[in-house]
Symmetry: C2
């Protein structure tokens, strides 16, 4: 047996939202392309907003897990992993279905503050930041939180510019900048 209907709906909606955004995609096309009726969609999700939220959570966990796993397999020390972040990002930017950060897209389409959708986006970035901080500590940075936040800015900037230029080159630029920031943070540690 294949995927559950719920999982099928989440996957289809994710692919469509990634490419076209949220308001441009209707529930009809999501149901149809999932091989499911609209009634079934509304059986699993009370509303389109709830589906969107479920998609964000679904994607958040899978993406971050995959990203971190890639980093961990590619480099074996916290110091090396700090730069490997940008190698993994480069692979991501090269994927066919890369259309920028889904969460940033959601923030741009749902302005109401303190809503479930916006909070999910912030939480996702926070969890990634936590991983950066863990690595920065392990790498012996003098102020690991500051270094992690700076590297996160480079990462987010690289994501944006990869989308703008339809090129993964920003990942290399960010990696070069990251090396400077890391060296600086470690030398001030002495």
């Amino acid at each position: 047996m294949g995927l559950s209907k719920r999982e099928q709906l989440l996957r289809t909606a994710l692919a469509l939202f990634k490419k076209h955004g949220f308001h441009a995609i209707g529930v009809d096309v999501i149901a149809h392309r999932s091989g499911v009726t609209k009634k079934t969609l509304y059986h699993h999700f009370r509303s389109k907003d709830e589906l969107i939220l479920a998609v964000l959570r679904y994607y958040d966990e899978r993406f971050r897990n995959h990203f971190i796993r890639q980093v961990e397999s590619r480099a074996k020390t916290p110091l090396r992993r700090l730069t490997a972040l940008f190698d993994v990002a480069k692979d991501w930017f090269n994927e066919n279905d890369f259309y920028g950060c889904l969460f940033v897209g959601a923030l741009g389409e749902f302005p109401e503050p303190d809503t479930a959708i916006r909070n999910a986006c912030r939480e996702s970035k926070n969890l990634m930041r936590d991983y950066f901080r863990e690595l920065a500590e392990g790498a012996g940075a003098s102020k690991p939180k500051e270094l992690a936040d700076q590297l996160l800015l480079l990462m987010e900037g690289a994501i944006t510019m990869a989308q703008v230029n339809h090129s993964p080159f920003s990942a290399q630029q960010a990696k070069a900048a990251a090396r400077v920031l890391i060296r600086n943070a470690r030398s001030s540690a002495q």
Copy 2:
């Protein structure tokens, strides 16, 4: 006499697109809130897409001019201006109608490559990058283009994180990182 109808439409549409994005805002509400009929809207713009494009161009020129003017008035040497970029960004993040970068929002909603809308977004970022490069050269960086691109990554990252956290603090984090990158680029110049 007040603004021309065309200008009024551009301003209204800009404010609405900035907050809600593009697909979530209909031409009816734009016309109505401009105090204009839909017929008049379609007299000035052939389609909604053309209105969107006009809004992007309108905003691009005004925003960049304003941004650069602020930088130039706040600091008087290229070196100081390189860090002043992030002070001006902080003011921007503090504005009531700050909802992230309009162009990044457009990229998230219009996936079709090589379209007028996407090209306008890329062009806008290119022009800002050119200004960064001009400053980096004037500041005596060893590789001014590289420094400028790195600072642009920090800037874009700061914009994203300001929206995520609804806080201008990312501007200060980016400024601190920028200082390190600038110092490094100037010391390797010797």
